[in-house]
């Protein structure tokens, strides 16, 4: 059981490393960049832990599960007074995904978001982004569908190794 004396935010951050995105289980909530802050306040001889998160997409169905998982894992570690709050601004972007997260995605067979934002404008019939195949590293790929298994991914196929793969879209 964790002693509530002397706890540090660093402990909380390392516990949060074990909370995964239910849709993309190789990514932790830290890798995703959705944990914006961890605060510990002491009142009435008790530590209150506040975890501030931001949603990826407004309608992302995983957010409720993620909130619940954060609460559960902190309870397991003996923390009782837990508050999980949500902020919307600044809005989440795939730029906040960690480099480690991008590497884990690729190893899992999902092409990570391109480093340069290419999608957030109203330009019509835009050229498909050049997306690298996570299997053979070829850039000779094509988009099959704007949406893949979840809203945050598109479906691509590699023209060289012919494997289909998901691409985690820039956002």
């Amino acid at each position: 059981m964790h002693s509530t004396d002397n706890i540090s935010t660093q402990n909380i951050w390392s516990i949060l490393e074990t909370v995964c995105d239910p849709e993309v289980p190789v990514l932790s909530v830290i890798d995703l960049g959705i944990i914006r802050d961890v605060k510990i306040t002491r009142a009435n001889d008790e530590d209150q832990i506040e975890v501030v998160i931001t949603p990826t997409y407004s309608g992302c169905p995983a957010m409720d599960v993620i909130r619940m998982s954060i609460r559960m894992v902190l309870l397991e570690h003996g923390y009782k007074n837990i508050k999980i709050s949500t902020i919307l601004s600044p809005a989440w972007t795939t730029d906040w995904m960690t480099q480690a997260g991008k590497e884990k995605l690729k190893a899992y067979g999902i092409a990570p978001p391109n480093p340069k934002q290419q999608v957030c404008n109203t330009q019509l019939f835009a050229e498909d982004e050049a997306v690298q195949c996570p299997h053979c590293n070829s850039y000779n790929t094509r988009r099959i569908s704007e949406f893949g298994s979840t809203a945050c991914k598109s479906l691509f196929q590699c023209n060289d190794c012919l494997e289909p793969f998901d691409y985690f879209k820039c956002y």
Partner: protein
């Protein structure tokens, strides 16, 4: 101030929810799988926006009303599932039936283009919660504008069949576009209080975008030549077409039959 903010927030939330509910009727019925997924993902974006707005409206409602009347505590769910049609403040446009694919596309294009310019300005709202919701939603709405614009062009500049369907959709939907730019009382108050967006000011931007996309679609401007068309209104003040009743009957039936049920 608080009641204006509450009404204004509900109006934005209702627009998003009712259009989401309409679009979700396509789930499993889209013309091709990719577009079925696209339209239902747009639904999901709109439900997400509606949730943020209803959560805020519930907080405002509980601050305004509970202390005085002892009314039940509002939540995002009570606002969505337990209000009567008369209390809904969405524009008439979003409650119109899906019709064919052209009608759904054109409704989305007209609405998203307006919402894009509105959220762009709402990011600078004096109310920081509305500003944050607008900022978060704008990325999603940008995609909705792009997607629906491309489809308007594809249909207008497609076959004779697709073009006729789009023109029929235009006849049906045009009379519902004027309401978006005619402020309700709470919208005018919201502008004066510094947190609302002046919808009259975004009308020229919307018209310009509509003209550009229609020109690209090889169609004549719907704006010039429609001066005489009677514009319907009333939705923002709770006076709806018969369509809303059917939407709510389906959407609210579970909560009204089994109050408070969860799954």
């Amino acid at each position: 101030m608080n009641e204006t903010l509450y009404n204004y927030t509900l109006h934005l939330a209702d627009n998003a929810l009712i259009l989401a509910q309409r679009n979700s009727e396509w789930c499993g019925h889209g013309p091709v799988l990719e577009q079925d997924i696209a339209i239902t993902n747009i639904s999901l974006d709109l439900i997400g926006q509606a949730r943020s707005l209803y959560q805020y409206a519930a907080e405002l409602s509980n601050n305004i009303f509970s202390s005085t009347t002892g009314a039940r505590t509002a939540t995002e769910d009570t606002l969505a599932y337990l209000r009567e049609g008369r209390a809904y403040k969405n524009c008439l446009l979003v409650e119109q039936p899906n019709g064919d694919w052209a009608q759904t596309i054109l409704r989305q294009f007209f609405f998203s283009t307006c919402q894009f310019f509105l959220y762009q300005r709402l990011q600078r709202s004096a109310d920081s919660t509305l500003a944050a919701i607008a900022e978060k939603s704008l990325k999603e709405v940008t995609y909705h504008v792009r997607w629906s614009s491309e489809w308007v062009i594809r249909l207008g500049d497609g076959t004779e069949e697709s073009r006729n369907r789009l023109l029929n959709a235009l006849d049906d939907l045009w009379p519902f576009t004027g309401e978006m730019f005619t402020p309700a009382g709470y919208e005018t108050d919201a502008v004066n209080l510094g947190f609302g967006v002046d919808v009259k000011a975004i009308k020229p931007l919307w018209e310009q975008r509509v003209n550009e996309i229609f020109a690209e679609a090889t169609l004549s401007s719907p704006i010039t030549g429609s001066e005489g068309v009677w514009m319907q209104s009333g939705g923002k003040e709770g006076v709806h077409t018969e369509q809303l009743g059917f939407i709510l009957a389906e959407m609210q039936s579970m909560q009204r039959t089994f109050p408070g049920c969860e799954w």
